[in-house]
């Protein structure tokens, strides 16, 4: 992590200076991935209809009347007009169909809650591009990519649904989201409580801003996950950085390392080496995030408890540098080649291309400024301090914008959110994002649910035979709260 690293919620690390992967180029691979993502929930058929809603590009100004089409999905198989509810997924930084497919929880509880499901796509992601192909062209076109605009989209969409779907007007909406989508679900309830009776904010790091949590906590949790999965695993990884540094002091070493790691594009200089280390770091981070108890395909197709499998190859820190990097390759191969079809490792991407890396890179450079750091002692990474000034320079170079590190706190309240109500903050202890999440109750109606064996929003995933008891409990508690909100809603409706 020698240079600035932009941590993405789902994508984890993306280097702003690095070439940005072209989503369309891997379209074929993408659909292959998606089909296999159905493996873990054969019980529920995800049938939805696709819709588009004309949104103002700028909710907060009147100079322009321009609009764009926001995509959203509706599934109403289990919806009941009598006593029903509407679960509204506040889409995050990617294709909404991908989130829809990976939020089995909503499908699983739809019948019980007599719920219509709505999945709303976040502007500037998936098909919801305000300026089409030009959306990421420059800071002028990107100017309307903010959380405030996205929340306003959700508000206007709900208003539209209430007006146009007979029976929806007098039903309780509940916001649901995971990761950045969970942050948005919580913020939506805070800012627009008239549109949703409550929010389930799964793995939502709403405190991963400014100095609300120590900048090192994220990578410490990653390290803890790896330690838990293999006592020597973090130490082996920690030593790997020096091994890579030693090996790459000369051209022969660069060649040797490229071979050992089966890189598609061989390393040629020290910049490549830095990029390689960032990419490996991001891989460990992603593995911690998706350390699910069963075979899955969220960021990549993976075995059950992938970190454990990775750590099987990283048991011995005290081997030769060459052997160490060979072991690292085996570990990386778990993540990048579980299907066994990859011929080489491609360091230009780490996650599903259904995530919009350009959009998130811009958001991280404007509002979503999340300080991260490592010290190499409490974590298994090379030391790297948080440097807002450098971060700002990099952002200015890449996007011609400057981050406003404190704006999110001003806007959404930081740690001072106790006056709000009806938000569930769920976090898995395995999830590095839990470090910036709310893991203790704030009040009777701002409640924290922790899932000791949970990785990144495990609770939002479909029921699975291998689910640990703790996530089943979490889900049943979540449903209990939602039912309470729905009851309260109908109770006060009757009073009126």
């Amino acid at each position: 992590m020698g240079r600035r690293v932009l941590l993405l919620l789902l994508m984890a690390f993306v280097m702003p200076g690095a070439p940005i992967p072209e989503p369309l180029a891997v379209k074929a691979l993408r659909s292959q991935r998606l089909s296999s993502s159905f493996i873990s929930r054969p019980a529920v058929v995800m049938k939805y209809t696709i819709h588009y809603f004309q949104q103002k590009i700028d909710h907060f100004g009147f100079k322009t009347d321009k609009t764009f089409n926001q995509r959203y999905l509706i599934a109403n198989q289990h919806w009941k007009k009598e006593g029903g509810s509407i679960l509204f997924y506040t889409g995050n930084e990617g294709d909404i169909i991908w989130f829809c497919n990976n939020t089995g929880f909503m499908w699983d509880v739809a019948e019980e809650l007599k719920a219509m499901l709505v999945f709303a796509e976040h502007r500037y992601y998936g098909e919801s591009l305000p300026y089409g192909a030009n959306s990421f062209k420059d800071s002028r076109h990107l100017n309307y990519l903010t959380s405030e605009q996205a929340l306003a989209d959700y508000a206007e969409l709900i208003r539209h649904l209430k007006v146009t779907i007979p029976g929806a007007e007098n039903q309780p909406f509940i916001a649901v989201g995971g990761s950045y989508g969970g942050v948005l679900a919580a913020w939506f309830r805070m800012k627009y409580p008239h549109f949703v009776v409550g929010a389930l904010a799964a793995s939502a790091p709403i405190w991963q801003f400014e100095d609300m949590v120590p900048c090192g906590v994220f990578m410490e949790i990653v390290t803890t996950d790896f330690r838990r999965s293999g006592p020597n695993c973090p130490e082996t990884i920690r030593r790997s950085w020096e091994a890579i540094n030693r090996l790459t002091r000369n051209g022969t070493g660069l060649h040797l390392l490229s071979e050992a790691l089966h890189l598609c594009v061989p390393l040629t200089n020290s910049q490549d080496v830095q990029h390689l280390k960032d990419w490996i770091s991001e891989t460990w981070v992603n593995l911690a995030m998706v350390d699910y108890p069963y075979e899955s395909n969220f960021l990549q197709p993976l075995p059950a408890w992938p970190v454990k499998m990775v750590c099987q190859y990283l048991k011995n820190p005290h081997v030769s540098d060459t052997q160490l990097v060979k072991n690292i390759f085996k570990a990386l191969n778990v993540y990048y080649n579980y299907s066994g079809q990859a011929r080489c490792l491609n360091t230009s991407e780490t996650t599903s291309s259904r995530l919009g890396s350009q959009g998130w890179s811009y958001q991280a450079c404007t509002e979503m400024v999340m300080p991260f750091c490592t010290n190499g002692i409490d974590d298994m990474f090379e030391p790297h301090s948080w440097d807002l000034k450098k971060y700002s320079e990099d952002c200015y170079r890449q996007w011609n914008v400057r981050p406003r590190a404190s704006w999110v706190t001003s806007m959404y309240g930081g740690k001072d959110i106790s006056s709000h109500t009806n938000i569930i903050f769920s976090n898995g202890d395995l999830d590095p994002w839990s470090g910036g999440g709310i893991t203790k109750n704030i009040s009777d109606t701002l409640v924290a649910i922790t899932i000791p064996e949970g990785a990144h929003h495990l609770d939002l995933r479909a029921n699975n035979a291998f689910d640990p008891m703790t996530v089943l409990l979490a889900r049943s508690l979540e449903v209990k709260y939602m039912k309470q909100w729905i009851r309260d809603f109908y109770g006060s409706l009757r009073k009126k």
Copy 2:
């Protein structure tokens, strides 16, 4: 009211097509007025310091980093760092010094609440002009004049005060505002509850939007006020419109009417006549708003209970047209010439030039779309229906923008605000704006205070020997609530 009429919160009516008064041209008059506004509260000396805070012109976009200086006033004579509080006036559509001088309530309670007073100027008003003299040039320059931007200014200013004033960080802020400023105070508590423990929203018509209240209610209250002040008064005014219409059917009549009303600029055509009637209507509205029980100088220098004095001249509806308009003149003269110095009546303005008519006209054409109508039966005005389409056309012609009539409801919740807490909605029964205000408790912490003998935010004015008992009770109740919020704040601070 033959053509579209834009109702302003304090200025009441402004015709968008009409020439807009030049604020600077009447600077001399303005200061004269201001000095006399001290008449009603000699007890408290208003000593404040003037400050400027650099605000982002656009809080919701990152394309530009441009800033402007927001003006704010601070008075800290009575502020105590131990157990004190900070009353924060959320400035409305005018010069902040004018609001400061007319919000004696804050000065009167400062000692009791150990309070620092802060008066923050609303962007695009007073000296807080984002683009200086070009601020009102076109829709591009006006694009950042929205309530959301103004609220964000207040949030950022409070953050700044907390950081820079030793002792302010751990003190409870309370939002206070009247009229549109009261709307902002309420909305600020709703949207930024982390910055203020509560809000006093005086005479805040937060429901004067869309179809939340009947569009006729405002003018009906004006009419009721006049009836209460003279049983035949509304009927006389109702008949005056037809009298004017009859008189002005020919050139002689125009001349005669101009003479009878002592107009500075004689009427020359039917358009002038319509403008005249709009101007007279606006005068009656303003009189109802400032029907205070003592001599005052808010919109104009006026006697105690001015509507009563006006109605003394409007006792007999059944006189000749000529006599009727002569009586109307005498009535108007109460409003426009209480000082006795005016030589003629100037139909180009009705209120203090310290209000920013350009800014409000734009706001009324974008977010602040308030439907008003009359039917000539339940009110004393010429019938006029609410026509959003025509309104929109007029706005487009004047400002090149289109109103979004439902946006405020989406953004701020309309009638569905019960999840919020700690807002006092105070309304005077004499105030036409009370028709769009909250006059019944919504919950234990969203409370309504009504003042039977109160006009527009009488409770925010300085204590006065002629105050009716009802406003004294209202103020003491307001202080009681504020003290409770302050106690709660320190209580939860101690727990932490």
